[in-house]
């Protein structure tokens, strides 16, 4: 049952992490300069409103009691209320989350499609010209500020060359009915191919902005990992069987490198949520990131902290899923679960 034990360990760690994050957010709320009730009620609130907010948040209670109440509110999914829209932060975030997920999925696919072939070729021809160039490209790709890349791509592809749309998620008037909140998926559900292609065109640049640093990191880890496996004792017998380099790389080095790579991809996808703050803003896309950026701009501190909590939860869940996938990929752990084979 090593498998279940490892998964439950990960679960416990995730819960602990979320508790740590909630504590951090609570401390930040307490550290906000000025009267908390005034901040929570918004700069324009009158004294009665402030008083009612103070009562609702239980600000007259001891700090420890407030902390426990805060944790209980988090458990109920109450991430606070936006001062600007007077709506619960969770409701607002839930509405824009699918759009961010769509972007992240698309970016991961593009990034994987770039990184894997590059790493496989580079590792097969270690030290050759392609390997050298790919490494330099990866270092450069990983060292570009996402928001700047977004601005430059948007300007040249959208404004100057007019290949892609500049910003938004779909052209005026051809949006499909909102079912999932993901424009591409909605278009497909409606069977509207032109709308799908339209949404895809809007998606491509922001997805590339995420895909480039993603691919750079995945490339570097995968290449190093492939080379590590290729240099291990395991490969001599494979070579002695008469295997070609491509077979050694694809059949042996790649599966063995997949475990660390999937873990890293999980971390990177989690990191994309942070990057979304910058990129969604530049491309004026609906999403968790642009919600956060807007809240910062409007000085809606409660919304910012609620969104920080929300993103933290999302990142922890992505990491958890990546960990579980990693565990499932490893027959040494999977085997004990299904009890296959002899002792």
């Amino acid at each position: 049952m090593a498998y279940l034990r490892l998964i439950s360990q990960r679960l416990v760690m995730t819960v602990l992490t979320l508790w740590g994050l909630a504590t951090l957010v609570f401390i930040m709320i307490k550290l906000i300069p000025g009267d908390e009730a005034q901040v929570a009620a918004g700069p324009g609130a009158n004294p009665e409103q402030v008083a009612s907010v103070a009562k609702r948040l239980g600000l007259d209670l001891p700090v420890l009691q407030q902390y426990l109440n805060f944790l209980l509110r988090m458990l109920r999914g109450d991430l606070g209320t936006s001062v600007v829209s007077s709506k619960p932060v969770l409701t607002e975030l839930a509405a824009v989350l699918p759009s961010t997920i769509e972007l992240m999925i698309f970016a991961s696919i593009i990034g994987t499609l770039i990184a894997f072939p590059m790493a496989l070729v580079a590792a097969s021809y270690r030290g050759k010209a392609f390997d050298g160039i790919a490494r330099i490209v990866a270092v450069t790709g990983g060292a570009m500020p996402a928001f700047w890349l977004a601005l430059m791509l948007q300007f040249f592809f959208g404004n100057v060359w007019r290949i892609t749309p500049i910003s938004g998620q779909h052209s005026f008037g051809i949006a499909s009915p909102n079912v999932t909140g993901m424009p591409t998926l909605d278009a497909l559900l409606a069977g509207d191919i032109p709308a799908f292609l339209d949404a895809l065109a809007y998606l491509i640049l922001p997805a590339f902005v995420f895909a480039i640093p993603f691919a750079a990191q995945v490339f570097r880890l995968l290449r190093a990992s492939l080379l590590g496996v290729l240099a291990s004792d395991m490969m001599l017998p494979v070579r002695a069987k008469g295997a070609s380099t491509s077979r050694m790389v694809l059949r042996h080095a790649l599966p063995n490198s997949l475990l660390p790579t999937v873990s890293l991809m999980g971390v990177l996808v989690g990191g994309m949520v942070g990057g979304a703050i910058l990129v969604e803003t530049v491309f004026a896309r609906r999403g968790v990131g642009s919600f956060l950026a807007n809240s910062v701009a409007l000085k809606d501190t409660y919304a910012v902290l609620g969104a920080v909590m929300f993103v933290g939860i999302a990142v922890c869940l992505v990491n958890l899923v990546a960990d579980i996938i990693t565990l499932m990929l490893d027959p040494r752990i999977r085997g004990t679960q299904f009890g296959a084979g002899a002792k």
């Binding site: 291990s232 004792d233 395991m234 001599l236 017998p237 494979v238 070579r239 002695a240 069987k241 008469g242 295997a243 070609s244 077979r247 059949r251 042996h252 599966p255 063995n256 990929l329 490893d330 027959p331 040494r332 085997g335 296959a340 084979g341 002899a342 002792k343």
Partner: protein, 338 residues
Amino acid sequence: MGVDTILTDGIIPAPVRRRPEALLQVEQLSIDIATRDANVRLVDNVSFGIGRGERVALVGESGSGKSVTAQALMRLNSRVKLSGRVNFDGKDLLSLSPSQMAAMRGQRMGMVFQDPMSSLDPLMTIGDQVAETLRIRGISKRNARQRALDVLDELKVERAAERLDSFPHEFSGGMRQRVVLAMALVGEPDLLIADEPTTALDVRVQERVLDLLDEISRRRSLAVLLITHDMGIVAGFADRVMVMYSGRIVEENEATLLFAEPQHPYTRGLLEAVPRADVTVDRLRSIPGAPPVPAARPSGCTFHPRCDRAMAICSSVEPGEAITPSGARVRCHLYGAG
């Protein structure tokens, strides 16, 4: 030159002996590795042959160059530079293209490595790993699987059919070594190179694996080159023994003769380090000192600093190859008499 010894200098091949038809003929093989600072010679001008179905042991301490030699025969290590000739069944392996060489591996010559724990891919089933040699040659999945099963049966892996789909971590050390053997044998090669195949195993398992190898080699008339540091496992297995020291073969003879009349002081030292049932000794003797590193070999005979019979000449002149009355090819001034 003494009447009873013939001195050759290594360039003249040793006289042809009554030996099975030659399968492998290694001539003047040298192996170099380029380091940051210099070129280091790991193996220096080694010549030997292996006949069809013959079992030859290559013995030496770690660092003597025996594993490097073994890998060179299959051109497994691409970081070293090989020179000389390696004739296998009429083909010079060193002049083959990489893909021609790959075609030889697995099918004409198989290899087994030291550590069965790290020799297997942890993420691939046993069946797939054994069948891989055949799959590379385009044999159908079904046939390859059947032949993998046959080899595992031949190697006495119990319940082999059920275990084809198991992963290496589900096997014990001895069972893994059988799987590694099966991977090398499934392509029905003419030569099996076994690099310390039993070192990582405990003594009882060691014997079982060697017995299996013995049996299969006879049944298939498979030539075996056994690489080991342990004279103890050589005795019952090999037809002929070569002793390697610091990148050179210092003595070679029929196994029975070598054990009965070891000529080179190093060979004697190795034999004295083996516990024997028929001789009672107070303690196991081992050769004092450590073998030299290839980058800093002593002058003259490289063994002289550790040799209990070293003479003045040994530190300055490199001994040539001599043939003694017992039939040994030996590199030692005791026999060179030059």
